[in-house]
Symmetry: C2
Subunit: 414 residues, 2 copies
Amino acid sequence: MRNCLVAQSGGPTVAINASLAGVIQGAIDSKEFYKVYGSINGVQGLLNSRLMDLTHKVETTPMFIELLKKSPSMYLGSCRYQLPDYKEDDTPYAYIFKKFDEYEIDAFFYIGGNDSMDTVDKLSKYALAIGSDIKIIGIPKTIDNDLCVTDHTPGYGSAAKYIASTLLEIGHDTSIYPINSVTIVEIMGRDAGWLTGAAALARNTYNDAPHLIYLPEVAFNKDEFIEDVKAAMDKYNNVVVAVSEGIKDADGNYISATNAVEDTFGHSQLSGTGKCLEYIIKENIQVKVRSVEINILQRSAAHMSSITDIGEAFRLGRHAVKCAIEGKTGIMVTSIRKNNEPYSIDMGETPVENVAGLVKHVPREWINERGNNVTQEFIDYAYPLILGEPVVKYQRGIPDYLDISHLFPNKFDN
Amino acid sequence: MRNCLVAQSGGPTVAINASLAGVIQGAIDSKEFYKVYGSINGVQGLLNSRLMDLTHKVETTPMFIELLKKSPSMYLGSCRYQLPDYKEDDTPYAYIFKKFDEYEIDAFFYIGGNDSMDTVDKLSKYALAIGSDIKIIGIPKTIDNDLCVTDHTPGYGSAAKYIASTLLEIGHDTSIYPINSVTIVEIMGRDAGWLTGAAALARNTYNDAPHLIYLPEVAFNKDEFIEDVKAAMDKYNNVVVAVSEGIKDADGNYISATNAVEDTFGHSQLSGTGKCLEYIIKENIQVKVRSVEINILQRSAAHMSSITDIGEAFRLGRHAVKCAIEGKTGIMVTSIRKNNEPYSIDMGETPVENVAGLVKHVPREWINERGNNVTQEFIDYAYPLILGEPVVKYQRGIPDYLDISHLFPNKFDN
């Protein structure tokens, strides 16, 4: 009996460790693998010989799998390493496959976004070229939800829940003064508006915030934006605007870009899109205005994850193991939505080349004509993904997450 | 039997509605008052005749008190209204006391920070001057924890818990890459460092972040800051810095102030202190740097309140009612720490003039000599205040808070 290997790559999400837990539990339950190894810092762990015995961790750490499912960020760390084309330079490939041999690896699971799927694609094609029968399987994750083929990506539901809940809390916070105000909330998503659109889930029987939503899928028009805010101020004292960091003007320039900001305000160095919209309001409407950037909190707030998201991430990890055992390779596991009410999904898979390097945008018809709100279709799609709350254990007043000190320098202990 | 009146003022906290709930429940339980009225938007509600019958709300809304205790922001709204000196202009006083008569008010409870305590002080002195025996009582609240006399203020513990938990999550988030990085986290507190110091509670058996903490109580020295960060980078790959928005240089200038920033970088308009420190690092150390501003989330995240804080806020509300019934006036109710382990407090009171307009700073000896960390005394003080988690009810994936539509224009319905 041989071993399997798992690694994580790309940016953190609240669900990526649940997929890792699913791989570990799936591999152990299958009894097809002797050990599950984890590569620290993505494929770089292979290049630097930093592997961790996860089977041993499960055996020696009480509640390891349960804690792992609920811990944010990436237990195995990440990397920004990109493989070259093996036809041009196969040095790292040769080294990685030598390591696979050394550790007697039968299957390699890589949890990540579309860059990581590019790695899966390249490694599986190299395996084919050299006649290796090692199985290389991708497991999706990204808060951005911008991977193709799969209905949605693990990490998205939790980030969407955090964003919706935070927008509701901002709605409460901004309602206290009987004067006009505008609050701009900048949300992540450089290329796609899935996260920003999820702000609409903050609306309930009494809260209409966010009153305006701007996604990267529609060209941003400054004059229309000013009109939109003025119109909203006729209806609401305190206008809340959700905006994606990735909005661009009709020429394709990021609104947050240095040049665009210089043109408009003569400032040389501004931070984000929210700040930029704040200045637009300041210069054009006499009203109190503030911008809030949710920043990395939206991808690390494991204290408010979606149990739907965490559960599916775990299932996808297990499914990846099943696929490997069935002999599949060069694939990414996917979610297939079977039903919306009651919501249910099936596990599936797709050749990873259908995903690598591609971006799934919010369909234009899920955004209203004016481009300042999402439609009911969007809400119906995103809503089931944020449902359910995990029981978060606290220790000394703060969440009890899994020790990650093996990621710190000079602390690596296999 | 006559009535009592309650209002809220200043900025939102997660616990101010729990104090409101304590007043309502205390007044009902005492059987000394026929009705509890709420004034919408602080004393402005009295000036504009916007009063709400809270006894009726309790009778007609299931779980009203329980929901109110767990809902963020301010159920009765806030105001920025400041009373003039009554010896110079008693017009608003005469109007307010006419309203007190009209609604047969025996006691007025004002929940707020030190500006609001100024209002309590002025109203109680005016009452004395005109021979009115209406009781005017202040109930403290502020996330800033900067009120004198009281051991701490309701709202602080919850904000501190949110900040500590968020810093732990940021610690996880920033640990994933095996490269150097610096993350600056800007925390509220214009005058006092209580909130920023609470970031130290994020540290646990494996997490040392935040590695540096800068409070407004110690003059900020840019050169020492650069040295501190470089020294921390020798020990940690990913350095996390917690900084108060209110830090100042040795001349008393805010680091975030336009001028200070212009002097250093030639930029004309920058946002916060975090951004400013980000630029200092960028210009002086070759390292990946990012700044995160927790912003209004730290005062509105009721989904992660401290049950200690919420419980004490409720108790203070009840205690205020008791004080009024005992004939006290011109006072603010206070917390008196009896014991730290096990932690317990008594309720007390102080003449409001001991609080109004004053600021309680973090003692210099609770900050280390270098001025880049808090001491164990600070941690021992703040730690009990963040303990305990409420059961937060969710509805459709987001927290189930109390309807605040009575704060919206054209929606006021008594």
